[in-house]
Symmetry: C2
Subunit: 335 residues, 2 copies
């Protein structure tokens, strides 16, 4: 079967940055299923893995990227009872295994759910990784009570995770959502996602306070941890919680969070599959919940751009657009 | 009335390090009560505030230390319904206000509870700050479910907070407790407090793994944040929680906690009173619960040494013993 990946880390313009190759189609066993992939979507993790996974080395086997897919169940392992061949499913996957930029993909059925029936392949492929990240951050990490009338600041409101986090917060909680954006088109996008307030992250403390909130109960940082650290320390309420998904590039001063007894939490969507935690099936359940919200008209896809055709050129173009930092919402590739 | 405090930060041997002086007895109003103090106890915060609060300056008014007391209600504010004059109470207090090293102390009644009737003054004075810290850390910060059969590592098992945390964990939860200690007498003390395993913090990763646990679900660090950071990152389970009460003296690498989606939480016992949070009365409730556990024979005082008499010499001796790092459990001063 055809797959696209890399054997060495290169700038995207380099001929070797992404290559097409053939590998054996995988076989399903135990809790695994084989999916015939129909569409995938891009996430920052794709370009980060490409940039960091094979620096100064050449891998023996190409690394296959892609951590968001929609497809049809092609084969099931012997323990599978909740899926059958022909089901249309969506899932994110496991960064430590082969990704979805491949005609067929082997995946643990416990992190898979039936895809929303109301969305086309590319629209549905835009959702799994960002939805899982946002949902886990808010409900499994920050442990937000859906009835609490509290406030959340989402730093990076117009990106893939910020866009879906805003929608989930507005649809599934009583939170007031303050999202950050700085360009005209991203501000307008954040409002479309349902943000109650859109503020500029370039003067974060003052722009949040100008909304009338002196502090916020929760901060979900999907943009940059070190740049916003001091502002987050100032804005977070006593006993508040900050969740981030972005590595700090330089050390941050954790002591700044102490006097307010603040909680700092990492959300990494691949923790459950990578460590095969005993609650791994929670990811399948979250995706089912997302599909229900989508099909009930409560949540919209965050797709903004689709490339037609599974080929190196399109995957490269998607990487370029993602690396530009100018993308709004999500980028998909229809196979 | 007589009080003991300092106007300038000095080594404890210096004549000016702690001084006796007279100030006006406080008046109770609103939610405040005035307490005639009977006994106080020492905490590391006393020596830290003395060392840091008046460096290179001389305060106009002396700073009164002491954040653990037992005493008799002497006067009540007009909103007080749950205490009456003559009640014997215990409390920690608020580091931003005058402390308990004083004949009388003004205190917010919402952070006060009736003292355990089965304990003498010094025995009860040993408990509030450490109990509040341990309780808040386990139940309000790490949100430990009392029925979960999980594992907690308490780094610094023989100190004031570690001693009471071990007892509360054993009495009020189903946690397995692994406490750290390295000297013969501290190991024996930790076992007396109820620890299931006592391990050496000098080789933390291996000594924990030697108990048969590859990872732990919770870590409560009351000893040193930066020294144990890497070991904590290695030992914590995926999706586990680390709570610390000790400032990091050098930057730590928070990224080490990311792949496991770990939660890092500060517990600072003074957050609720200092910020007058809308759940400030939780501290009075926790102390009531502690008194009930003590009077029911479920929790023992962690007092190990009492100085008799409220005078500068005794307070200085208590500071010296605390600063030595060799103290086990708590040190009290009986007035």
């Amino acid at each position: 079967m055809k797959a696209i990946g890399f054997k060495t880390s290169q700038e995207i313009e380099n001929k070797e940055s992404l290559i097409e190759f053939n590998i054996q189609k995988p076989k399903a066993k135990d809790f695994d299923i084989v999916i015939k992939v129909s569409a995938v979507s891009m996430n920052p993790v794709d370009t980060k893995v490409r940039a960091n996974a094979a620096k100064d080395i050449i891998l023996d086997e190409p690394k296959i990227l892609g951590y968001d897919a929609v497809g049809i169940v092609d084969e099931i392992g012997e323990h599978i009872t909740n899926f059958k061949i022909g089901d249309r499913v969506f899932y994110a996957g496991d960064v430590s295994k082969n990704g979805s930029n491949s005609q067929f993909q082997l995946i643990d059925s416990r992190i898979v759910a039936l895809a929303p029936t109301s969305l086309k392949d590319d629209e549905a492929a835009a959702l799994p990784l960002t939805s899982l990240t946002a949902w886990e951050a808010m409900f499994d990490r920050m442990n937000i009570n859906k009835n609490d009338k509290k406030t959340i600041l989402i730093i990076g409101g117009a990106g893939g995770v910020g866009s879906i986090a805003t929608q989930i917060a507005k649809e599934s909680t009583n939170l007031t959502v303050i999202a950050t954006a700085s360009r005209e088109e991203t501000i307008s996008w954040c409002k479309k996602m349902g943000a109650d307030y859109v503020v500029n992250h370039k003067d974060l403390v003052n722009s949040v306070k100008n909304t009338g909130f002196e502090t916020v109960d929760y901060i979900f940082n999907v943009a940059n941890t070190e740049i916003h650290w001091d502002a987050m320390a100032e804005l977070i309420a006593p006993q508040g919680k900050i969740c981030s998904i972005v590595d700090a590039e330089i050390p941050v001063d954790i002591n700044k969070l102490k006097s307010k007894s603040v909680t700092f939490i990492w959300e990494f969507m691949f923790t459950r599959p990578m460590f095969n935690t005993n609650d791994i099936e929670k990811q399948g359940e979250i995706l089912s919940e997302i599909a229900t919200l989508v099909d009930g008209g409560k949540i919209k896809t965050t797709l903004s751009k689709t490339f037609q055709g599974f080929n190196v050129e399109n995957i490269k173009d998607a990487h370029k657009l993602s690396e530009s930092g100018k993308a709004i919402g999500k980028i998909a590739i229809q196979f």
